[in-house]
């Protein structure tokens, strides 16, 4: 194992910096697929190399060598990996595993709870096609999709009141795009990857954005007008500021939850609106190819490091 064992971690850091620019520049569907696949590969590769480093360090322990039938002299003469580093790597890997399992558990229980409750919501179609959308009496302005099989779309009466008929159609098209395209899988996978490798959290955030953009563009295709979708989003967001959804209401009134700040520039909604008012996103081959190449390199480095370690083990075993 050589210096390339660090590549997956370095490339994860690069990916963290590139995530948002990629989500802004590539078409939403492409960006979502690219970021999600990258997150999976990078999380796997970085956990993999951490494991390899830990394993390499373990091999310097005489007890382990004896148990595996390896010659410790052969190991020491070839492997430059240090024991403290290996211990650190092992600790990080354990932390990553725990975080990932915990995240998966929390997410699953939240999903199951949401699904059980949403099954009690009556199925009502707002439009003629099967919508699985439900209207709830609530002056607060809110609309969301509960993931599941089947997904449920929930819209408050306050939201409907705030929008014109064509804007309501946009809202439903957007939510149906979420429900139909399993967008939730992308965000869930990305968050899991980010739990296993915190360097990847910007990818999870970027996917949250690109998934919304994806639904926006689908709604725009259905409505035939991108500015209309932009207006609908802006109107809904402004109405929600005046009449927030239940949780936001009580939390903000109690002062527990400050309104989001723009420390990092405009939030999701203005970016979505701006993107819809601008030209449609075009597929840019160069950034896409670069990103795929980097992620492939990360994966290959991890694979290569594993092969190196395997070869060293075999060598040590044959020398014993």
């Amino acid at each position: 194992m050589d210096v390339f064992v660090w590549l997956p971690l370095v490339i994860s850091a690069i990916a963290a910096l590139a995530a948002r620019p990629l989500a802004d520049r590539l078409p939403p569907r492409t960006a979502t697929w690219l970021l999600a696949a990258s997150a999976v590969v990078l999380a796997g590769a970085s956990c993999g190399v951490l494991g390899l480093l830990a394993l390499a360090a373990a091999m310097r322990i005489p007890f382990v060598d004896a148990a595996a039938g390896m010659s410790i002299r052969a190991v020491n003469s070839r492997d430059p990996a240090s024991v403290p580093l290996g211990i650190l790597a092992g600790a990080l890997l354990a932390a990553a595993a725990i975080a990932a399992v915990r995240a998966a558990w929390l997410r699953t229980t939240a999903l199951v709870a949401a699904h059980q409750h949403s099954r009690r919501l009556p199925m009502a179609s707002l439009l003629t096609s099967a919508a699985e959308a439900v209207v709830v009496q609530d002056d607060g302005v809110d609309a969301y999709t509960v993931p599941g099989w089947p997904s449920r779309i929930v819209v408050t009466s306050g939201m409907l009141a705030a929008l014109a008929p064509d804007e309501r159609a946009v809202l439903l098209a957007h939510e149906r795009a979420h429900a139909g395209s399993y967008h939730y899988l992308f965000t869930a996978v990305a968050r899991l990857a980010a739990a296993a490798n915190p360097l990847l959290s910007p990818l999870a955030t970027a996917i949250g954005y690109s998934v919304e953009r994806w639904a926006d563009e689908r709604a725009a295709a259905a409505a035939g007008s991108r500015p209309l979708v932009a207006r609908a989003i802006a109107k809904a967001a402004l109405a929600a500021t005046v009449a927030p959804a239940l949780r936001a209401q009580s939390a903000v009134l109690l002062g527990a939850l400050p309104r989001p700040s723009t420390a990092r520039g405009p939030g999701l909604v203005p970016r979505r609106v701006a993107a819809l008012l601008g030209p449609p996103p075009k597929l840019r081959i160069v950034p896409l190819v670069l990103a795929v190449a980097l992620v492939a390199i990360a994966g290959l480095s991890a694979f290569d490091a594993a092969r190196d370690l395997h070869a060293m083990i075999e060598l040590a075993q044959s020398a014993a």
């Binding site: 929390l106 997410r107 229980t109 939240a110 999903l111 709870a113 949401a114 409750h117 949403s118 919501l121 439900v134 209207v135 709830v136 009496q137 609530d138 809110d142 609309a143 969301y144 999709t145 509960v146 993931p147 929930v154 939201m159 809202l171 957007h174 939510e175 979420h178 967008h183 939730y184 965000t187 968050r191 919304e212 500015p227 932009a230 207006r231 989003i233 802006a234 109107k235 809904a236 967001a237 402004l238 929600a240 927030p244 959804a245 239940l246 949780r247 209401q249 009580s250 109690l254 309104r259 989001p260 723009t262 405009p266 939030g267 999701l268 909604v269 203005p270 701006a274 008012l277 601008g278």
Partner: protein, 130 residues
């Protein structure tokens, strides 16, 4: 809708939850709206009248009950909106997970004051976007 839980005097949280459920059950079982006195009669068990009043007004603040003036007191009835209740319960469960934003895909997220300003400008003049 303001959540009064932290401001109600004297009732420990867990006991209050059970009492609320019991009061709601009484109201759902009865065919008509009930005053606090009537609810107290049906609940029994040595509760104080003021306790019942507190519980009912808390449930009303949560949007679970509606109320009408009935003489000098109010009478309370469960909100007829089953989907609303179910949706509220669901949001309550998800809020407890503190992960609601990532489980549900909301049409619009909360706006900062600057974002609000930006959006109003955009709505007023669509060409000024970005």
């Amino acid at each position: 809708m303001r959540d009064h839980d932290d401001q109600a005097p004297g009732i420990p949280r867990r006991a209050a939850g059970e009492l609320e459920a019991a009061a709601l059950a009484v109201l759902q079982a009865s065919g008509s709206a009930l005053t606090p006195g009537e609810v107290l009669d049906r609940l029994g068990g040595g509760l104080a009248y003021t306790t019942v009043v507190t519980i009912l007004s808390r449930l009303h603040a949560k949007g679970v009950l509606t109320r009408l003036r009935s003489g000098r007191a109010y009478s309370y009835a469960p909100v007829a909106d089953e989907p609303g209740l179910a949706a509220r319960r669901m949001r309550g469960v998800l809020d407890a997970e503190a992960d609601r934003e990532t489980v549900l895909a909301r049409f619009v997220s909360e706006l900062s004051p600057e974002d609000e300003h930006l959006l109003r400008r955009v709505l007023a003049d669509p060409d000024s976007g970005s």
